[in-house]
């Protein structure tokens, strides 16, 4: 009941507040307020989706991510700074702390200006490697836009990203444990530093789809961090430009749509899984819910309720075809690993369940659901229960085992014989007692 209320409250909150599942306070860090207008469409888009935008310059004194140890903003969007660093309040450490506290970050880089060392050291912490040259850009001599970059070939034309793996839900109609490249460079692209005189083959850092133009990182606590290789892609100019690939037709870009999806994902509007009620009990009628202790060889039922957040509401979560939500029953190592099957569906969630027999081993076990997929927030549930041995009166009784009847008969015949003997003895007592006395005398 209380849980239902909580869910209701959650829905209300979501409806009133914003679309994001984790708050609406968005800080945009932008060095130059004049550049604000470059991205006006993006801002308008975000505001229409319910975000409260705050614009700050990295050098501003007022800029602080935390107040009294709590986050002031839910999300952070960093546009490429021209200066060397992001200032004293946005050191890599602060940014990591921000992520540690479930804040989400969209970091845009730009080919126009050199990447600051602060940012690249931050990225290295997260295992995202930039080209050693600070001002490297990706070029592609086959998929460039013939209209705007006929000479430099540094405006790349890309198809909408396909899905990363066949079993991954495609949010970008669109990518590794914590790190997933969303948009890879086409196979013909390579890293290139335009300032260098002679590009030599050895200098090339990475080519083709080794280059990730847009990468996303989801920390263990599901905080999201996205690196966008090119801030220019978010500019108004590219939202509605038309481009022409060499030898191709002239088409209009879908940057606006892509930007929307990208921000929606980063700021947790999509791909957020929520675990509702978890319950486990004996597979009998009216069994106690979530008991602390089971016995070995108990028939046990486990159920977990999962919902997914899609832009503005929770919907039942469906496991993609070919994938499954798994339950482990573990003590040191899994004793059971079972696929959870959808049992029933509520308006906002799907209940997955499994039924199994606890192993013939006592100990402290845990029900574990560990579901980590790219672009979905992590589900990592662990519920400890104790599995005890048979109590002294729970073993099969001797009379229930046919083999034991012989011994039982033996025992009772002894006792019966004893009783009969006692009776006969007492009956024969007087005469033989007298007899015995006579003998002793």
């Amino acid at each position: 009941m209380r849980w239902c209320l909580a869910l209701l409250l959650c829905c209300l909150l979501a409806a009133v507040n914003a679309l994001s599942s984790s708050g609406s306070r968005l800080l945009v860090v932008q060095e130059d307020s004049t550049e604000k207008s470059l991205y006006s469409k993006l801002w308008a888009d975000l505001e229409s989706r319910g975000y409260d935008l705050t614009f700050e310059s990295p050098k501003s004194d007022k800029l602080a991510l935390f107040e009294h140890g709590e986050r002031v903003y839910d999300h952070l969007l960093i546009l490429p700074p021209k200066a060397k660093g992001l200032g004293p309040s946005l050191t890599p450490k602060h940014i990591l702390d921000f992520l540690q506290k479930d804040g989400n970050i969209l970091l845009a880089l730009s080919g126009k200006s050199a990447t600051s060392s602060a940012i690249s050291s931050l990225l290295i912490e997260l295992d995202i490697h930039l080209s050693t040259d600070r001002s490297a850009v990706a070029v592609d001599h086959f998929n460039y836009d013939t209209i705007s970059a006929a000479e430099k070939h540094d405006v790349l034309l890309l198809q909408r990203p396909g899905s990363l793996r066949p079993d991954v839900k495609a949010f970008f109609d669109a990518t590794p444990p914590l790190l997933a490249p969303i948009l890879r460079a086409p196979v013909t692209a390579y890293g290139y530093n335009p300032k260098e005189e002679i590009p030599s083959a050895e200098d090339i850092q990475a080519t083709g789809s080794q280059l990730s133009l847009v990468s996303a990182l989801q920390a263990r606590n599901s905080a999201r961090f996205t690196v966008l290789g090119s801030a220019e892609a978010l500019e108004d100019q590219w939202f509605s430009a038309s481009v022409k690939a060499p030898g191709g037709k002239k088409t209009s870009t879908v940057n606006q749509e892509f930007a929307k999806q990208l921000t929606a994902w980063t700021f947790k509007e999509t791909g957020v899984l929520k675990v509702g009620k978890i319950q486990h009990h004996l597979a009998t009628e009216h069994a106690e819910r979530n008991p602390k202790i089971y016995r070995v060889k108990n028939e046990t039922v486990f159920e977990i309720e999962v919902s997914e957040y899609a832009y503005d509401k929770y919907v039942p979560f469906e496991v993609p075809a070919g994938d499954e939500l798994q339950l482990e029953f573990t003590m040191l190592s899994p004793f059971h690993r079972l696929a959870l099957q959808p049992v029933r569906r509520t308006e906002t969630s799907t209940v997955y369940g499994a039924q199994f027999v606890t192993p013939d081993q006592h100990g402290i076990f845990s029900f574990r659901v560990n579901y980590k997929r790219p672009f979905l927030t992590n589900i990592e549930e662990k519920h400890e229960v104790t599995v005890r041995h048979f109590a002294h009166d729970e073993y099969t009784r001797s009379w229930a085992i046919s083999g034991g009847w012989v011994w039982i008969a033996g025992l009772w015949s002894v006792i019966g014989g004893f009783l009969a003997f006692v009776v006969v003895w007492l009956y024969s007592a007087p005469s033989s007692a007298a007899n015995a006395i006579k003998k002793t005398q």
Partner: protein, 742 residues
């Protein structure tokens, strides 16, 4: 003590009733003295449970009192041996807990509001009073004069060898087991004297109680058959023996099998085979005796020997066959270590690591028994003089117990009762001869009157006895002095050596005032109040029971060392590098690691000194991964200073012990006061754990195990980042991630 000799003085002149009353009074006084001398620790410190094992017993008793008998019987303890759990109800001797539970409920029923803790604390002294009583009865069976019984009661009341295990707060199985041991022996003597089924059955019942209370019941299981066997070999078979032994064996064995922990052991384990063999033998002998009643002739002596040899051979081959085929459980390790003191050291480090299992040092005998130890042979000699059935028992018991006490320190406890009996026999023999005033006087006077012409001295010579007042006075005086010294010694030993709870340490400041070191409880209460209810604590097994009892947190291993592999796992985690330990910690859901470090205070019982045992035990399971040799320097020294081997310095235990320790001292001055060595200037770098708590005197240090890094870095990098070190871009080739556990 003094009273008992007084009693001997009064004996001649008082009536029977008066003497009986006096005896009861003296026994009560002895019991009171026995109880009160055990209360030192309560007065010095407080009413607290001592040491290690008693904490578990205390916890189990609380469980029993709270949840009732049946759930105690089926208790599955999920707060120890995480994650295996322990079938506690089936793996403990419930006698102690049930006893105190019953006492508690009786007191409650009598509307005396008591705390279960106080029942537990005072149980051991209370039972020591009963032991004195049982001792009186037992010795009373041995000697005609009651003074021996009273002396024995007084001895057992205050002898340090017994006090060591029964001071107030030492709530251990031995607390009631010694009483049961003595009382069972008393009943056995009674049974074999009277040859009645009832005494035999009573012996069996108390034997059953003993089985439920202490693993040392095996001693009785072997001693009684041995007694019977020796008597048989001496040709002293009688129907009384048959009746008492067979009754005891049949009922006692069945009774002992009711205890879940013992179960089928009496049938399977070779420790119990001698009792079975003697049971079979006595059947044969009885049958032969039965036949003999119909067949006259002297040949039965021979017949008997034939049969003895035959059965012995049969039983022996049968035993060997069964042991070889594996029907009978293999001889348990503790049993082997009884015979070969080096066995444990070589094969089972876990047994050898317990200080109680070490061979006894010679001074310990004198320390624990004082002048009784040299009266002991005299007492045995007195027994040889009479050599009735019960005296044979004393002789066998003393020989066996002396041997066992020499092998294992803790078995000193089984030696103590018989030493008291023998010493009391010897001493009463002396006192009875020297303290008697009237009879010799009369005899001497009669002599003097009869032969007036001869001098007194020459007249006395042919008489056997001591009549000179001088020699009487000398002997009596010296015995009194010895007794007084004994009392003084016992009091001194009790107050100085055996009354420390070892949970609270006491030391003296330079000015002589007492200084209480309460780090253990400080740390345990910190755990209790600052960690989640089911935070798993990893520590070396010594502290498992205390953490369970005082901090009420689940532990990985504890003093019930039933699973050697699990202990070795903890040992491995402690003795390996962090990179190896961390996955182990993760796998076992460890939240906190607790180590005991005495370096600051000079407390020598700390984990670094036990460290080699951890290494040995884990080497026994993983010889490839842990090697004891690697912890010694090239010259074979165990060092912790800057000469220490890299393996030592990288081990988790070393790091946990010395983490931040150097910051207490001026640079380069850090000293370890236990090992007396100067430490390296740099504090060890700890990555996967962080310090959570350090007690006032640094005895207990608690560390929290870090979660996996949020961003998938390994911990050394994360720590380096937090310290503000920038990652070198050049150092690119990262190895495969090591810390993925799931």
């Amino acid at each position: 003590m003094a009273q008992s000799s007084l009693d001997a003085l009064l004996k001649g002149s008082s009536g029977r009733n008066t003497r009986g009353l006096l005896r009861i009074l003296i026994l009560c006084t002895i019991a009171a003295a026995a109880v009160s001398s055990r209360l030192f620790s309560v007065i010095r410190f407080e009413s607290i449970i001592h040491e290690f094992d008693p904490w578990f017993n205390f916890r189990a008793t609380k469980y029993l009192v709270q949840n009732g008998f049946y759930s105690f019987w089926d208790w599955f303890d999920d707060r120890t041996w995480h994650p295996l759990g322990r079938v506690t109800g089936g793996t403990l001797y419930p006698g102690l807990m049930v006893t105190s539970g019953v006492i508690y409920h009786i007191l409650r029923f009598l509307t005396i509001p008591v705390d279960i803790r106080n029942v537990c604390v005072l149980l051991a002294p209370g039972f020591s009073g009963l032991t004195a009583l049982a001792m009186y009865l037992l010795t009373g069976e041995m000697a005609p004069s009651p003074s021996a019984g009273l002396l024995a009661a007084a001895f057992i009341g205050i002898v340090p060898g017994y006090i060591s295990r029964s001071v107030a707060g030492s709530y251990d199985n031995e607390a009631i087991a010694i009483f049961l041991l003595v009382f069972t022996f008393f009943l056995w003597i009674k049974a074999i004297k009277n040859g009645s089924i009832m005494w035999g059955a009573l012996t069996a019942l108390f034997y059953g109680y003993m089985v439920s209370a202490w693993g040392g019941y095996v001693f009785i299981t072997n001693l009684i058959p041995l007694h019977v066997f020796v008597l048989l070999c001496m040709g002293r078979y009688s129907s009384r023996m048959y009746i008492s032994y067979t009754t005891w064996y049949a009922l006692g064995t069945l009774g002992s099998m009711q205890i879940p922990f013992v179960g089928f052991l009496p049938i399977r384990n070779s420790d119990h085979m001698s009792a079975l063999g003697v049971f079979g033998l006595i059947q044969l002998v009885a049958f032969a005796d039965f036949i003999r009643s119909f067949l006259p002739g002297k040949q039965f002596q021979k017949l008997l020997t034939y049969m003895v040899f035959l059965t012995f051979g049969l039983a022996f081959t049968g035993l060997i066959a069964l042991s070889a085929t594996g029907v009978i459980a293999p001889w348990s390790g503790r049993f082997y270590s009884l015979w070969d003191t080096n066995y444990a050291k070589i094969h089972i480090p876990i047994i050898a690591s317990v200080s109680e299992h070490q061979p006894t040092a010679w001074p310990a005998f004198f320390f624990d028994l004082n002048f009784l130890i040299w009266l002991f042979p005299a007492g045995v000699f007195v027994c040889f003089q009479k050599l009735k059935d019960e005296h044979v028992f004393v002789v066998i018991y003393s020989v066996l117990a002396s041997y066992f006490a020499g092998v294992m320190v803790r078995l000193m406890l089984t030696l103590t009762p018989i030493v008291c009996v023998a010493a009391a026999l010897a001493l009463s023999c002396i006192l009875d001869n020297f303290l008697v005033m009237s009879t010799p006087k009369g005899a001497a006077q009669a002599k003097a009157n009869g032969n007036e012409s001869k001098s007194l001295r020459s007249g006395r010579n042919p008489l056997v006895g001591i009549y000179s007042y001088f020699s009487k006075a000398v002997v009596t005086g010296s015995v009194t002095i010895y007794l007084l010294m004994f009392v003084a010694h016992c009091t001194w030993v009790t107050s100085n050596a055996y009354s420390s709870p070892s949970v609270v340490l006491a030391s003296r400041l330079p000015d002589g005032s007492q200084f209480i070191i309460d780090d253990y409880r400080e740390a345990y209460y910190w755990l209790r109040q600052n960690t989640p209810d089911n935070a798993k604590i990893m520590s070396w097994w010594d502290y498992g029971y205390q953490i369970g009892g005082m901090a009420d947190r689940p532990t990985l291993v504890d003093n019930n060392t039933w699973n050697n592999t699990h202990i070795a796992t903890v040992g491995k985690a402690m003795s390996s590098r962090e990179e190896v330990s961390y996955p182990i910690l993760r796998q076992h859901d460890v939240d906190y690691v607790l180590v005991v470090f005495g370096g600051l205070l000079g407390y020598s019982g700390d984990d670094l000194n036990k460290f080699l045992w951890m290494v040995r035990i884990s080497e026994g399971i993983w010889p490839d991964e842990v090697s004891e040799r690697a912890f010694f320097t090239a010259r074979g020294e165990y060092r912790v200073d800057d000469q220490a081997t890299p393996t030592m310095r990288n081990s988790l235990m070393y790091k946990l012990s010395y983490h931040n320790y150097q910051s207490l001292f001026p640079p380069g001055q850090a000293m370890d006061r236990v090992r007396g060595s100067k430490l390296p200037t740099e504090t060890p770098q700890l990555n996967t754990l962080e310090e959570a708590f350090t007690s006032e005197n640094w005895i207990i240090r608690i560390y929290k195990v870090k979660d996996l890094d949020n961003f998938g870095r390994d911990h050394s990098n994360a720590v380096a980042f937090d310290k503000g070190l920038k990652k070198k871009r050049a150092a690119k080739k990262r190895g495969p991630p090591i810390l993925r556990t799931e």
